[in-house]
Symmetry: C2
Subunit: 226 residues, 2 copies
């Protein structure tokens, strides 16, 4: 019985990858670089976007905002005067706990691809399923808050293993926590050796310049890789 | 196409409820009260259990520890000398982001039901899917950390709506956050009016006596309700 279930899951992921490649083709045709931004609920994805989206110079950014329901984060980002498109997984997609390639594909007609250079897809807050579904992105960034504890890379290894950059957020709270940064980084390297990481505070702004620069340089890195 | 998908989801939830009732019958036969404990990753479920499991008097407690993989939390709880059973959703269950009734049923033979009065099922850290699957519990408790922000009830309403108790954890960090407790409680009442809530700090111990007393009184409340 388990074998049948694994087979069904594999088929679903194959179908997802086919649609993700179609998304990728559309993004390439418009020369849009795409970031899939993931984290647990409340780790600070939206605040980290608020910190940099107004400071990207000539790079025209847009956001696809994924939520189970509501548009609270999209409303926050709208004040930054970047195009924000809301994508809800409830009710059309059964209240899914993640975005998949098909959901992103359904939102493409609403995205101003010809008018942007960088698309940030803010995924549903969840450390499990978003990691399983490629959506056509160039890079995956995950945010891990120091308030969540040092053990998270060990408990959610797929998420930490499949991203190109880990933003360790809320470091302004370190003096008030029993969080051991070295132990967290040790656990991170155990599941994804050498993955790029940045210590940041969306609240104070510490480290966010490096995050902005990483976003700015991503299109050039993508061309080198292609 | 969406209608077909919704129908499949409904069938799966019906099947889940049937198995949940079978679990419930087994728990009742052994007079075991069952709590389904849920939260986002890193909100403090395990630490809140560590705080109370050694202080339950005559009530014999056991824990079913749900994780995608690994046994980090089970190892932590083992030192409290309560029976802890590990249930991993990977690989047998495809790395699911939640526990369902069938997974809990598969663990029943490993649970010492005749030797315990209270079973706490620590679910996978996730604010979406665990709320959709009853596992045969008497009560649902969710932990929401103040570090996650005031908007969480609005963004994950099903989770907040289907629980009997909300533990608002990490209140020792309030002086260092921009978290407005009243606004959080206002949002909580908007999705689940009047639901019981406790402000606690697993770190300092503030408020955990009330959480322990709630657990101690749960079997009596269950009998009144039955």
């Amino acid at each position: 019985m388990h074998r049948v279930k694994v087979r069904v899951v594999e088929d679903a992921l194959d179908a997802n990858n086919t649609i993700a490649r179609a998304n990728r083709d559309d993004f390439d045709r418009h020369d849009v670089t795409v970031v899939n931004l993931m984290s647990a609920p409340g780790a600070g994805k939206t605040t980290l976007l608020e910190r940099v989206l107004g400071d990207l110079g000539d790079v025209r950014a847009g956001v696809l905002e994924g939520d189970v329901q509501g548009s609270y984060d999209a409303d926050r980002l709208a004040s930054l005067h970047v195009p924000v498109t809301q994508l809800n997984t409830d009710p059309g997609f059964g209240g899914e706990c993640h975005l998949d390639a098909n959901m992103v594909r359904s939102a493409l007609p609403a995205l101003p691809l010809a008018a942007i250079d960088l698309l940030v897809i803010e995924n549903v807050g969840n450390l499990v399923c978003p990691a399983e579904f490629r959506v056509g992105e160039d890079a995956r960034v995950m945010v891990s808050s120091v308030t969540e504890g040092e053990d998270k890379p060990l408990k959610y290894p797929l998420m930490f293993r499949t991203c190109e950059l880990v933003l360790v957020n809320k470091i302004d709270l370190l003096p008030h926590l029993d969080f051991d940064v070295d132990r967290f980084l040790y656990n991170l390297d155990a599941v994804h050796p050498g993955v790029q990481r940045m210590l940041v505070s969306a609240r104070t702004g510490e480290g966010v310049e490096a995050w902005r620069d990483w976003l700015l340089e991503l299109p050039a890195r993508r061309e080198v890789a292609a």
